[in-house]
Symmetry: C2
Subunit: 428 residues, 2 copies
């Protein structure tokens, strides 16, 4: 240990960001973490008591498992129900408690416009009609027989992180979950929409597909035909099992890389049109209002974005020492190629390591060691994607769009650390 | 439709296996599936009634989601409890009901030797001792601060599919779950063991790591040091959330590609030794008994293997027509490079398409269209891996090892289809 502790820590950017070579091998042992946090057990000395759970057999197998009661604080966060908007609202993934890149189905974010319909798949139909040679209706059982494809993709509500644009002062009590929790990632399996459209026979004059859900809001969105024929699927499975009711059981549209709202849940109709349908959900909502009160419409792809999840808002660093900075990056335009981290509010940057396997339009976990010396710091991350896009600052988004925008905020998140180790959401 | 129906189906192997070009684009529409299974909806004709679930708002968001009640048959399958082996046994993943490559945490297979201990992480320690410079003990909180890595890997019990070796006659009532359900796949996130061993300082004479769990069975296995320093992790998260109690909460060893039993759950001790510990669990069990009653020991990697999950045992084909054959392939030696399918009991083979994203030592989903003409068929799959290994036949395994082997069966699975469309487990 003594020899290792003498090793110099290689700093790669300001305020304590360390070289990735400290991540493995030499590890954090030489960086002071071990000394402060690993209890030394002398083999012939300390005797550990045998805990009760090791003394008698526990219960056996179960049909469908559940988390440990000690992990019961890891939950989605909902707003208060609004009596004038029954079933409406969202719940947010607890990003600061998750690791890796896959979100478990029980913790995938939700966004409902009229709550979760209790659909019996035996009574559900998907109709394809409008500008087609042959209108078709598919039962759930029909679709299960079709060829499927499986892809790992993020899904993000375009309203995610919107509070950062709406409010002039940063909510110092915010967490990664409360600001950014409307993004999740799963392996989606379903029938390529192109196969069904081919079967219906799209007429030449068609250029849009209007998708409508079976919820009481009849949530509807218009999808350009070119995208529909590209990589869109009728998703039937999420992380291996049938999609959950709150994700659209028995079937939803899944539109890789685009704002979540267009991946219409409880999908019951796809109507081929020669123009966009101009649904309520793409006029009154899900448009980007500019400073002059005009709105950008059909701004579908989600921009390149990242977020440090640990340490993050409302966390507490108890002692100076080495910490692993960890977070998530994603882009609706492609795969993540690079994530930079700053500990000094953007004055200097160092490249993080991509920790999880990198997939096209999927959450990607990054990490970098950081030596907190007990002084003030501003932690930020900045993602790059395979199309050359770079995550912008909050200030540049406000400058371009004015201050009444809500959707499509992919600005850099800043967490401040003060001398007592408290993490706070700030604008920087 | 008429024009498409005239298209010739391109057969690529005997008894109805079709070209992969029928999977997408041209789709199954030209292959008769649409005609038999998609109800034609005349736009101005058929009026669908509005289901009740579309008429009023449903309940809002939830903290931790659950499957639809209509998917409640998708469960793990356990044997009957054995009063002389309290908490012992296994539960099997419902492979025939799953899609994609990721297994949801609630349906990941289980294998317990003394049930599931109810561990409070605040009272749990991981001790590293034996032939180390500095014995160490880590709390759960300690480990959460260490650098982590995330990888998608399968886990398979070495006893999986053992019934095919043990019984001379095939169980015609078997399902994919009942024979092969002791394999699952997840994104595992944890601390590389190499980092902790580096910190403890492994002495030159050490060559094995003895791993012991905190369950009442004190389940123990020996791991060669070379593997421990390679890609083994102390897994803390599974598919994003803390690992479940039945998977070893708060921490388990995870040994990529090797038999599941060595990924010791509820991990509480790693002792560095100069030889294998010869634990009960690696002498009385988890050895491969040969015809002369000698046993192969420490046969760690799981062989290249595959399995058709749909259609599979106890399923029913209702009408002649085109079906998608779908299944899973994996190898403990590397990634899946190729899967072949036969519909005539191995006389001819055609290459399947790999449907899911391919990862090293992970489940990989494959598929191929098949035209069932209403006559007898034997469906088989044969996997190849990146190390050049090819999945063997059951007969060749029995010839090499005799008929009292149980573990490490990676033989080709055969499902028979009779003229009434019933699927049965057979030896062929």
């Amino acid at each position: 240990m003594a020899k290792q502790e003498k090793q110099a820590l290689q700093q790669v950017a300001g305020n304590g960001l360390l070289s990735r070579r400290h991540l493995l091998g030499l590890g954090l042992s030489g960086a002071g973490l071990a000394a402060s946090h690993s209890l030394v057990a002398q083999e012939s000395g300390v005797v550990f008591s045998i805990p009760q759970w090791s003394r008698q057999p526990g219960p056996g197998s179960s049909p469908y498992g559940s988390p440990s009661p000690h992990a019961s604080h890891i939950q989605r966060m909902s707003g208060n129900p609004n009596p004038t908007y029954p079933g409406g609202g969202a719940s947010r993934s607890p990003l600061q408690y998750l690791q890796g890149s896959i979100t478990p189905n029980s913790l995938h974010f939700e966004r409902h416009h009229a709550g979760v319909p209790a659909i019996d798949p035996a009574g559900h139909k998907l109709v394809i009609n409008g500008l087609v040679r042959q209108p078709l209706a598919f039962s759930y059982e029909d679709l299960l027989r079709y060829p499927m494809v499986s892809r790992i993709h993020f899904l993000e509500c375009s309203g995610n992180s919107g509070a950062m644009l709406r409010s002039a002062t940063a909510d110092s009590g915010a967490t990664a979950q409360s600001i950014h929790g409307l993004v999740s990632c799963a392996e989606w399996t379903g029938v390529p929409l192109s196969a069904l459209l081919e079967e219906a026979g799209v007429l030449d004059q068609a250029s849009w597909v209007a998708a409508v859900g079976a919820d009481a809001a009849s949530m509807g969105r218009s999808l350009p035909l070119s995208k529909a024929l590209d990589d869109v699927m009728i998703a039937l499975y999420q992380n291996g099992e049938p999609i959950r009711p709150e994700q659209g059981y028995p079937m939803r549209l899944f539109v890789p890389g685009w704002e979540g709202n267009i991946s219409v849940k409880w999908l019951t109709q796809l109507k081929l049109l020669d123009e966009a349908a101009q649904f309520r959900d793409e006029t009154s909502k899900y448009t980007d209002t500019l400073a002059d009160r005009s709105s950008l419409q059909f701004t579908f792809p989600m921009g390149v974005k990242s977020l440090i999840t640990s340490p993050s808002g409302q966390m507490q660093l108890n002692n100076p020492g080495v910490y692993e900075i960890s977070g998530l990056a994603w882009s609706g335009h492609g795969s993540i190629t690079r994530v930079e981290i700053s500990a000094d509010g953007g004055r200097s940057w160092a490249d993080a390591e991509l920790q999880s396997q990198v997939h096209d339009r999927a959450l990607t976990r990054f990490r970098l060691p950081w030596q907190w010396r007990g002084s003030d710091a501003i932690l930020q991350s900045r993602a790059h994607d395979s199309r050359g896009n770079v995550q912008p600052t909050r200030a540049s988004i406000l400058a371009a769009r004015g201050n009444i925008a809500t959707y499509h905020n992919n600005g850099i998140q800043s967490w401040s650390v003060n001398s007592t180790g408290e993490l706070r959401n700030v604008y920087a």
